[in-house]
């Protein structure tokens, strides 16, 4: 009797643990899906209407980061995960900013030396 009760308890506990595993109403997926469509259309329109310069770059990056954030947070369920996992995955990507900065510095320098040595008429 006690055995059966314990078993029942165990299965309940097990099911409870499973119910915790990323189950969310379908509406949120449909809403995010719609939002991603809107943001993609917006970023396509940036090109279609020939925005140039800083406005173009700003809009492209904003739409890109919004889309990436929505996908990671909702579709990949990151917003419902524990902080330990969130930090373990998201913090290392910040390191890429260092690589980005080094790449930009290096590219500027290469462009400068190419300008000095390769472009005709300068030397």
């Amino acid at each position: 009797m006690a055995h059966a009760e314990a078993q029942q308890h165990d299965t309940q506990g097990h099911q409870h643990a499973h119910a915790q595993g990323q189950q969310h109403p379908i509406g949120i997926y449909l809403k995010i899906w719609g939002l991603l469509f809107v943001l993609s259309t917006a970023s396509y329109l940036v090109d279609y209407f020939h925005f140039q310069g800083y406005l173009r770059w700003f809009l492209i990056i904003v739409f890109m980061l919004l889309k990436a954030g929505l996908i990671v947070a909702v579709f990949m369920h990151m917003m419902w995960e524990r902080l330990a996992l969130m930090y373990a995955i998201l913090v290392p990507t910040v390191l890429l900013m260092v690589l980005l900065g080094i790449g930009a510095l290096e590219a500027d320098y290469t462009f400068f030396t190419r300008g000095v040595f390769f472009v005709k008429g300068l030397l």
């Binding site: 990323q22 396509y44 996908i71």
Partner: protein
């Protein structure tokens, strides 16, 4: 015997939240990722490493584009299509973007119906996701064919401007297309497992003795959303920039 089981009925202590939770999880002398199946944690770590690979590609693209003295070919014109007698800029890439986002939407719903153990709907949604992924790869094959045959773009040079355009394009879209193709294959495998009932009956997979369950649908979903995520960045910095 009875005693041993009875002691197991006590509910576990609630886990601390916030930064305290991070410290507690990591210093607990147990697995660091609580409430997460290990397969999912490992998929996240694989995706983190893949993020670094794609970032290396995109950052090297940035450096070659910034440092070239030749003009960069305008992607808006290179990827334009003539539809109904009208030239529409970048339209093929826009359609590919919508196809991939739609596949992400159906994948997210497949995960939800998987945890509800709704085999039929999960199977259908997984197949739609795979079909959309295959459509994406097909459109990419069309795009490559057009660029190689009609525009004469090669990895070592092209008639439109900077030679680096071709190498960067084939490298990045090729690597992404490979990810999509692998994803389509695994989506079909997971779909078959779902409809056969492997996950309901906890049958082990072909490379593991681990019992099958619906967590693999979510893990598959993580990979698929990541492929979509990478496309978001490629679309923004390569095609739109």
């Amino acid at each position: 015997m009875t005693q041993a089981i009875a002691t197991n009925t006590v509910a576990p202590l609630p886990l601390p939240e916030g930064v305290q939770g991070v410290v507690a999880d990591w210093s607990s002398d147990q697995r660091a990722f609580k409430n997460v199946p290990w397969g999912k944690a490992m998929m996240w770590i694989f995706l983190l490493s893949d993020t670094f690979i794609f970032s290396s590609f995109l950052i090297s693209y940035m450096t070659v584009r910034m440092s070239t003295t030749e003009p960069w070919p305008n992607p808006s014109e290179v990827f334009a299509l003539t539809l109904w007698g009208k030239k529409i800029p970048l339209i093929l890439i826009a359609i590919m973007t919508f196809v991939l986002i739609s596949s992400s939407g159906t994948m997210a719903m497949a995960v939800k119906f998987g945890y509800e153990k709704n085999r039929k709907i999960t199977f259908i949604l997984l197949l739609i996701t795979a079909a959309l992924g295959a459509t994406f790869v097909g459109m990419q094959a069309f795009e490559w064919t057009k660029l190689i045959l009609d525009e004469g773009i090669r990895p070592w040079g092209n008639p439109l401007g900077a030679a680096q355009f071709g190498s960067v394009f084939f490298m990045i879209t090729g690597f992404h297309g490979t990810h999509v193709s692998i994803g389509v294959i695994f989506l079909i495998i997971v779909a078959i497992k779902v409809i056969r009932g492997d996950l309901d009956h906890q049958r082990p997979g072909f490379l593991t003795g681990r019992k099958g369950n619906y967590e693999i649908v979510e893990i598959m979903g993580l990979y698929w959303h990541f492929v979509d995520l990478v496309w978001v960045f490629i679309f923004a910095v390569f095609y739109l920039w």
